[in-house]
């Protein structure tokens, strides 16, 4: 099977976030594989191990993405592709990213594409479905289970806590939800092997795309931190009095009950 994973390198949002010059300050920040993409990579490896074939992980970004791609290779992916657009595109949006990914994938005859259901930084959840549509491929979002049997797939989809069992056929794109699997940690031999696995680097030119073809349709005009919440009031005194005070505050001060 010809399996692809869409992987985003993201800011680790467990870290403190600061803004400088109107942008998120990335100086010294920790970057990781988007956690939902880890589920996608793990699932891809399991599907390959059960059905044969090859897993290729693709990321659109800058050269820094090589680190996360190597981690994916160390987990067990076979190949990686970095589409480095740093010199060509200034302010991309989801339209940009999806267009580039779809252009790369259009002649690859993928049987299965896996993406994360959402990136923890940008948070739109658009890229997977957009890529599938551009490739005229069916998709199922927020999946928690995937079974492949020949050319048919049975997928469990999380729908706001309910679940749907969906039957469909390959080629297919799915987006991973937490619960799909437990992503493995790269093993030491895995890390050693990853160094020798192929990591191809491409630019827009290589995809026959011009800057204009991928120009964003939306623009960020401001990024800001929510106003610092005043330090919450931790109540004191006898527990019974605290409880009375809280009810009073919620009723008279906050006016929410």
């Amino acid at each position: 099977m010809n399996i692809y994973v869409l992987m985003k390198r993201t800011f680790d949002t467990e870290e403190k976030i600061a803004i400088s010059g109107g942008k998120i300050n990335e100086e010294g920040a920790e970057f990781i594989i988007n956690p939902y993409d880890e589920y996608a990579i793990e699932e891809a490896i399991q599907v390959r191990d059960a059905n044969g074939g090859e897993v290729t992980v693709i990321s659109v970004g800058n050269e820094e993405g090589e680190k996360q791609l190597r981690t994916a290779l160390a987990m067990g992916a076979d190949k990686a592709v970095l589409i480095n657009i740093e010199d060509d595109v200034e302010d991309g949006d989801q339209y940009t990213t999806a267009k580039i990914l779809a252009e790369y994938l259009k002649d690859k005859e993928a049987d299965l594409i896996l993406a994360g259901n959402v990136a923890i930084d940008g948070g739109s959840g658009q890229v997977g479905p957009r890529v599938a549509d551009a490739l005229d491929m069916a998709y199922v979002t927020t999946i928690t289970n995937l079974e492949i049997n020949g050319s048919t797939a049975t997928v469990t989809r999380d729908v706001e806590g309910d679940s749907e069992v969906i039957e469909t056929s390959l080629p297919l794109l799915v987006t991973a939800q937490q619960g799909l699997n437990e992503p493995r940690y790269p093993s030491l031999p895995g890390i050693m092997k990853a160094k020798k696995k192929p990591l191809e680097e491409l630019e827009l030119d290589d995809l026959d795309l011009e800057e204009d073809d991928v120009e964003a349709k939306t623009k960020t005009i401001e990024i800001y931190l929510p106003p610092q919440k005043e330090a919450g009031r931790v109540l004191e005194g006898e527990l019974a009095d605290q409880v009375k005070e809280l009810v009073n505050l919620l009723h008279s001060e906050a006016k929410v009950v």
Partner: protein, 325 residues
């Protein structure tokens, strides 16, 4: 001037979800005086048209088809694209729900347009329509504008105030016949777990329990408190993983995103993935026995103590308040 804006009314169990009325209000802002056209997709949904009108839609287009009885990406996108083809809108608003998240990017791809997902507000500012949306798991916000093409957005439930319902408003409800076909995904089974009662993502009061609740029975006092306040019970991932409650109650990045007036977190430590689903709540109360717990950093009011003592006492106090009111 003004724009013609389509807004999708989302139907669940035969009625419109609140987020649809909020989406109509957002569509009004985006229309800037232009026409707001409600869209209904499903089986026997056209009867709901008048309710969309009461909430501010100027008229409604419904696609009724037995093939739309359940949501499928292909079915709904064919139907919505047909309405878009007929109406040629300059704006399009959906709720940022499971349905909206699945459908909107496909429509954006078909239109070759941008899409601003998960907006918590929209306003006209300096000649631009400016959308605000949370980023970085809710730790920051961005303001976005559309630079090319249709103004297309999904709105987060419970953030944009709906317009006052006015049953005296009138508007045309027309139907459009669409030949829905070639559905590539087939729903074999639906396992409904989301509990009856107040819809968690639309609740005004949420009482949430974490690993500190310690057992399935441990949720009982939380349910009693929720009942007294007319609220819904939610949970952290920790509580779901420990099987104290069902995953349908999970709040956070992977669970439901809630924005109630009052959020009471009981025995929840406050991990970023949890905060991503509730930090926009108007008032947050934390009950935790660990004074250092991260949840206190986002709480407006906190009680350091054992939830099994505090929660029943709270229930009693709220009961007294209701009696006196």
């Amino acid at each position: 001037m003004g724009r013609k804006v389509l807004v999708l009314g989302e139907v669940r169990d035969g009625s419109l979800r609140n987020v649809s009325f909020e989406a109509v209000a957002a569509a009004k802002t985006v229309a800037e005086g232009g026409e707001v056209v409600g869209v209904l997709l499903g089986e026997n949904v056209s009867s709901l048209g008048s309710e969309l009108v009461a909430y501010g839609a100027d008229r409604v287009v419904a696609v009724d088809s037995d093939k739309l009885a359940q949501y499928t990406t292909d079915g709904y996108s064919q139907a919505l694209m047909a309405v878009i083809g007929q109406e040629n809108p300059e704006g399009l608003i959906l709720g940022h729900t499971a349905l909206g998240k699945d459908l909107a990017p496909k429509i954006a791809s078909k239109l070759g347009s941008g899409l601003i997902s998960d907006a918590t507000s929209v306003e006209e500012a300096g000649g631009n329509l400016v959308f605000t949306r949370p980023i970085y798991s809710g730790k920051a916000f961005e303001k976005k504008v559309v630079t090319d093409g249709i103004v297309f957005a999904t709105v987060r439930p419970n953030n944009i105030a709906p317009l006052e319902k006015d049953g005296s408003r009138s508007g045309d409800v027309s139907t459009l016949a669409v030949d829905v076909k070639d559905l590539r995904t087939v729903i074999k089974e639906v396992v409904r777990k989301a509990t009856e009662g107040v819809d968690l993502s639309e609740a005004k009061v949420v009482i949430a329990g974490g690993r500190g609740v310690k057992s399935e029975e441990g949720f009982e006092p939380l349910k009693e408190l929720a009942d007294v306040l007319g609220g819904a019970v939610g949970a952290s991932r920790g509580a779901c993983d420990a099987e104290y409650c069902d995953y349908s109650l999970q709040i956070g990045q992977t669970g439901k995103v809630v924005t109630p007036d009052l959020y009471i977190a009981c025995g929840i430590s406050g991990a970023i993935q949890h905060l991503a689903g509730m930090s926009n709540s108007k008032i947050i109360v934390a009950i935790n026995k660990d004074p250092e717990a991260n949840i206190f950093k986002v709480a407006d009011y906190g009680i350091v103590g054992d939830l099994f003592e505090v929660v029943p006492m709270l229930t009693e106090e709220f009961k007294k308040l209701k009696v006196n009111a």
